[in-house]
Symmetry: C2
Subunit: 783 residues, 2 copies
């Protein structure tokens, strides 16, 4: 079997925009279900095919509708009743690609307009030759709307076609049912309504769908027989299609929930959502498929106008893969809703239950901060609004201040990391998941992102509202969290023991360098902020003084900053990832590094053995050197990069972008390009098992960062923007948008030089390498 994915399906104007699945493989349905996921930040529609298959994952999510099935489980994003299933019976045979004869198959996601289409030529087991064209979209213009169109053409002879299409509430999250059965109704004999609430969070989800039929373009008033069963509502219709004729089915649908932004603070949301849903569905039917589709296309066009990253490369894969990342970065976030974060698998699968991790702050926020600061503000406001949960988590763990949850869902949930994972394969007993308790660096990561956002935007209002409290609240947590121990001659020193760093292959480590350095930075920033606040003694000072007793806290922070142990390079210039790291055994990883799939080390060693090796799942100290750029000199970066890269398996999707950017910074563009390609392959590569549980959201940010921060050399350093591009040999051009201090910039990097256009209405200044430069409003600069 050849490669399933084709990256050159787009031709002419569509070149670089179309990803094609050219082979149907029923044993690898998950890959394209996830990477072809459609959405708009509100809705996420996984791309399960219209007809059902064994092993499919039919997911529809609405962001933020978290629900907890029972006390034993953690809250998760529930899988809504399915709208996309549409079963065809052709001359008595159920249409399905695993039966009959498949003469041609192509499924394409058009990244430019967000449309997913499929062309199939099929001969049924009974010998009917049929050609089918499927198309669907999730509207970017109206977040509630989904459209689907199926064209069936009869080939060799007349054939009876049956269509069964509706709303299926029998779907679950891998067996867990989050919805009450709710109510089903049929309006006007063809408009289907299914309203069901989640079992614990009581979010009422109302879905509407209706089918319209055409033969050779002429509207057909086909009788639609209602099929009403438990958790299932559909209509069934049939007709005889003459050879050469084409039947078109348009399925229009919308989804509204009582958690929708429009009902925020609304007490009668549950009545309103039904009324609004019904009215909207009427409007949708009035507009019709073509108008709805056109509106969505227009919205995508507008988006790309300020979002596209252009790459001219020897391999066109680079261009399409970066656009693939940008596509997902656009549909994974509800840009105006600060009550919800981005899930680790976005809205493309059930993996990680829709929870948000540090992925957002470290891997995704650089993209939003530098291109779409309003969305960045939304995401950080989500952390601000989540402070009650962070206070709660700290309290539950016996600490003061704000301890952000490792996994985050509802604003006030606090920690939602599951307590137990799968069973240990050796002992057979369930394994405790420790990240929720031990992976504490996230609290510093959030503070870090707040400051990056502020530097890029100067958004004082955000600082006043949330920023100061996040940074000072987490600092309070750290002052309480660190452990003071006698250090002999040095007097007292403080340590952070028993944590998990970003490299999750090591649990219960002491003084993880990444953690300690970020905590130090967090404390120093808090010190600076408290000083500023005390100078002015405004409203924010008042609010925070009440909460934290700032004077006292400042003393405590300064003591902790002074006492905190920061691991320093050893005689070889290497910073130990954690205490006694160098005592671990070094093993040869070549075999695993050359492997197409991750985690192969587990085939030879168990977790205890792996814990005793110097092996890393992902960048840890290298990531530290990227974030704390000015704390380490180039030589230290080089040495540590070489040392840790040799020991890193990149078994996390977060790993390669860090190595790409660091290698680019160090001038090793060949190596950087190698890791860049690795990032691209994480979801979009030819390995068909990578994305079953959903795409890797953080990796989408990592791809953008690799291109723009890596090869474009764009970084936020010393409170300023810095650019210092270095294209890899394979590229002749890289062009991208940035927004700095509210000012839109367009940067075009070519081998010959770089052009920076200031598209804004004020002057902008930044570093070009070490050089400070300024571009007046509306002007451009060549470097």
């Amino acid at each position: 079997m050849g490669k399933a994915l084709n990256y050159t399906a787009g031709v002419g104007e569509k070149a670089g925009w179309v990803i094609e699945e050219k082979i149907f493989d029923p044993s690898h349905l998950g890959k394209c279900e996830a990477i072809f996921c459609q959405g708009n930040g509100y809705l996420g529609q996984r791309a399960a095919l219209e007809e059902a298959y064994v092993g499919e994952k039919r997911n529809l999510f609405v962001t933020g509708t978290f629900d907890k099935f029972d006390a034993e489980e953690v809250t998760e994003l529930p899988n809504l009743p399915d709208l996309t299933n549409l079963e065809l019976t052709i001359g008595g045979c159920r249409f399905g690609l695993d039966s009959g004869q498949l003469k041609s198959y192509s499924r394409q996601l058009d990244l430019e307009d967000g449309f997913l289409s499929r062309h199939v030529e099929w001969v049924s087991p009974a010998g009917d030759e049929i050609s089918l064209d499927f198309e669907r979209f999730v509207s970017l213009a109206d977040e509630h709307v989904l459209g689907q169109r199926v064209k069936v053409s009869a080939g060799n002879r007349d054939v009876e076609i049956k269509i069964k299409s509706g709303i299926n509430g029998r779907v679950t999250n891998t067996g867990t049912q989050h919805f009450h059965e709710g109510k089903m109704r049929l309006h006007k004999g063809f408009i289907m309504e299914m309203c069901s609430a989640t079992v614990q969070s009581e979010v009422l989800c109302c879905e509407y769908a209706a089918n319209l039929f055409y033969v050779d373009g002429q509207r057909l008033d086909l009788y639609q027989l209602p099929v009403i069963d438990r958790r299932f509502l559909a209509v069934s219709a049939s007709l005889t299609l003459k050879a050469g004729q084409t039947l078109t089915v348009e399925k229009l649908a919308c989804v509204h929930t009582s958690r929708d932004k429009v009902y925020e603070g609304e007490e009668s949301a549950k009545e309103k959502v039904i009324a609004d849903g019904r009215k909207h569905m009427e409007g949708i039917l009035e507009s019709g498929y073509d108008a709805l589709a056109a509106a969505s296309r227009k919205a995508w066009k507008e988006h790309w106008a300020t979002a596209d990253v252009l790459i001219e490369s020897q391999d066109s894969y680079d261009q399409i893969a970066v656009r693939f990342a940008l596509y997902h970065l656009n549909i994974m976030v509800k840009k105006d809703d600060d009550r919800v974060g981005i899930g680790a698998k976005a809205l493309s699968g059930e993996g990680y239950k829709g929870h948000s991790f540090w992925d957002t702050e470290i891997f995704l926020l650089p993209y939003y901060i530098l291109t779409d600061p309003n969305t960045a503000k939304t995401l950080l406001s989500y952390r601000g609004k989540s402070l009650p949960g962070a206070y709660r988590k700290a309290k539950e763990n016996g600490f003061k201040g704000a301890m952000f949850p490792w996994e985050s869902a509802w604003l006030d949930d606090g920690e939602v990391t599951p307590l137990w994972g799968g069973a240990d394969v050796v002992t057979g007993k369930p394994m405790k998941i420790l990240t929720g308790v031990l992976e504490q660096h996230i609290s510093a990561d959030v503070a870090f992102a707040v400051w990056q956002y502020f530097i890029a935007t100067g958004d004082q209002e955000f600082l006043d509202r949330y920023g100061y409290e996040i940074v000072i609240g987490t600092a309070l947590f750290w002052t309480d969290r660190v452990e003071w121990k006698d250090k002999g001659a040095d007097g007292q020193k403080c340590y952070i023991t028993d944590v998990i760093g970003p490299d999750e292959y090591k649990e219960h480590v002491d003084n993880n360098a990444y953690t300690n350095y970020l905590v130090h930075w967090n404390l120093v920033l808090a010190d600076r902020m408290i000083e500023e606040l005390q100078k002015e003694k405004g409203e924010t000072w008042k609010k925070l003084e009440e909460k934290f007793q700032l004077e006292q806290l400042l003393t405590k922070i300064r003591e902790t900053v002074d006492g905190l142990y920061l691991p320093l390079p050893n005689e070889d210039g290497i910073i130990p990832q954690f205490d006694r790291y160098f005592d671990l055994k070094k093993i040869d990883l070549t075999k695993y590094k050359e492997c197409d799939v991750v985690g192969t080390i587990y085939n030879d060693y168990n977790i205890e053995q792996i814990s005793s090796f110097q092996v890393l799942k992902q960048a840890d100290t290298i990531l530290l050197m990227l974030l704390m750029d000015d704390a380490f000199d180039t030589e230290t970066k080089e040495k540590n990069y070489r040392f840790y890269e040799e020991r890193t398996l990149h078994d996390s999707s977060l790993s390669k972008s860090t190595h790409c950017i660091m290698a680019a910074e160090l001038g090793w563009t060949k190596e950087a390009y190698h890791f860049f390609r690795g990032c691209l392959d994480t979801d979009l590569g030819q390995v068909m098992t990578t994305s079953d549980m959903g795409i890797h959201s953080a990796c989408m940010g990592g791809i953008w960062q690799s291109a723009v921060c890596g090869f474009g050399g764009v970084r936020i350093l010393k409170d300023r923007l810095r650019m210092s591009p270095q294209l890899p040999q394979e590229w002749s051009k890289l062009a991208f948008h940035l927004v700095w201090q509210g000012c839109p910039l367009y940067v075009t990097v070519e081998k010959g030089g770089t052009e920076i256009k200031n598209l804004g209405e004020k002057d902008v200044s930044f570093y070009w390498g070490e050089e400070e430069i300024s571009i007046p409003a509306g002007e451009k600069l060549m470097k």
Copy 2:
């Protein structure tokens, strides 16, 4: 496509024992999943195939484990984690009959030993020729045990085989998840354990499974890779099978629950069930597949020795279909557990949620009363133990006494009929289900069955314990339920208005003849019982006197008996099914009666129109005349049979057996045989959509009744057994077992005469037609 089912697959000694599915049809999976269901009264394992298909229903039930998902739903029998799924990958291709080339297919249920086997010859899409033999059993010797064996033989070349086999907790009841995720463990690296409790009733269900591998009969110590995921635990193993070699996989499993009979009243059932399950699983592995299989075969052999009904017919279908019914009658009931009834679909599907209806009393109990009185006692004790629920239902409806639930589950649930059904296809609004409130005849049906049981067994202990209370409690209900109205010259009369009779095509009817006559009978029996009790004034009298104030009740009962309106025949000798029945319009039903499938009248008329016709869904007045045999003379029976038969669609599976027995009684054996065949076809016929939601339990009893009570002429009349056989022309022999007053009888009916053997240790007397005869212990009689 030819007929899918073959009834002549058994040859030699197996003739008349084997049902074969000879065509695999992925669009009609439900039929054989249900009719090939295996079980032992405790477990019910629906016969979904080992490999998964779209549209399959993979059900495993443990009787009585009812659970209610939420306040909006009613309690139902939950679908337990699946044990039967076993996925094979053959040379890289997933084994499934919808792909590749199916060269031969045969699946057979052996009714004699309860084994289900399947032979498949298959060429994979990659060209590997494989032959597969599947076999499975649910042990009749040890109710917790399931065994499965798969043999895979490589044909044309060496081929890599992968097996994935485990326990899948992702199954639901049509989308409703009744289980917490619970705990999964792996013991000794290969014994899988999944323990999960139901969400509301907190029944802990523990399942164990282990796989053993053999190549050409030699045990293979194959590495079993654990696959542990959400609600899913399996092992995966692979090997290369050489051409000509055979791989055998034995999957042994057991199920224990905290509701098991052994834990009745046990407080620490939840700890015990796990310990017992683990220990049992060890024992199972020690015994091995062959020994477990042999034990089950032995148990079946013992069962058939006193259960078989022999039929010599021109069409061998008659014999196998009756055995098919006997097979299901044996696996549908847990004979020693009086805390649970028989579900309308037994343990073979989700239909009717596992609830018990009047089906048990009127259609199934005659079989158990006359062949297996201990089981009959268990089933009636279930009603006795359910009295608290019946009192509750009466109270909730504003009545005194015992009003048995139309649908019954847990002992103390009371009514569990869902309040709402599917949406009305015309208005689109949800439809109210009225049977739970209006179909009240069940309370008299239960009393009727109590008396039948007592007559057949003389079991005074049962009467004392439950029987009197059921009959008197229901009588109290009826005295309160009837409505007194002025009847002019006749003085006061009482009526029962606004009910649904057995013919559910008519709702809100007044004075349904079936209901009124049975109520009358119920009251008369209560009168007789109270008189008897008052004579002795023993413990039972004391208990019931306290509960019911018998003196006062007796007066009330007698008034009601005197006043109760019993519809009498009109001038044509026809009893009106209910008031104003004759005013309804008569329509020609020929078209619908000739149809293979039921409910076709709905294609032409809606429910309101049907309500205005004289059309019947099922026998109603005819059934009355069967139960109240001595209340009607032969002429009345004949006239009413003719009148109502013409108007009956037999759209209920309960209908045809009644017509068969009545026609046989009236001497119309040709017509009786026609309805007998109709009963057989209900589940076992060639129409492939009849049994998707499960087999029709009551119809299994109806088949036995048609043969034994119809053609065998066996009836309980005037407190005595009566026999008066008349074979249909097609039959030369009918032989069956009976138990009367604890005495086993064996009856052989042939054209030339009937032989009745008294196999018991005491004399037995009964009516032969009108003649009273007696057979001494151990003797036989020819008639």
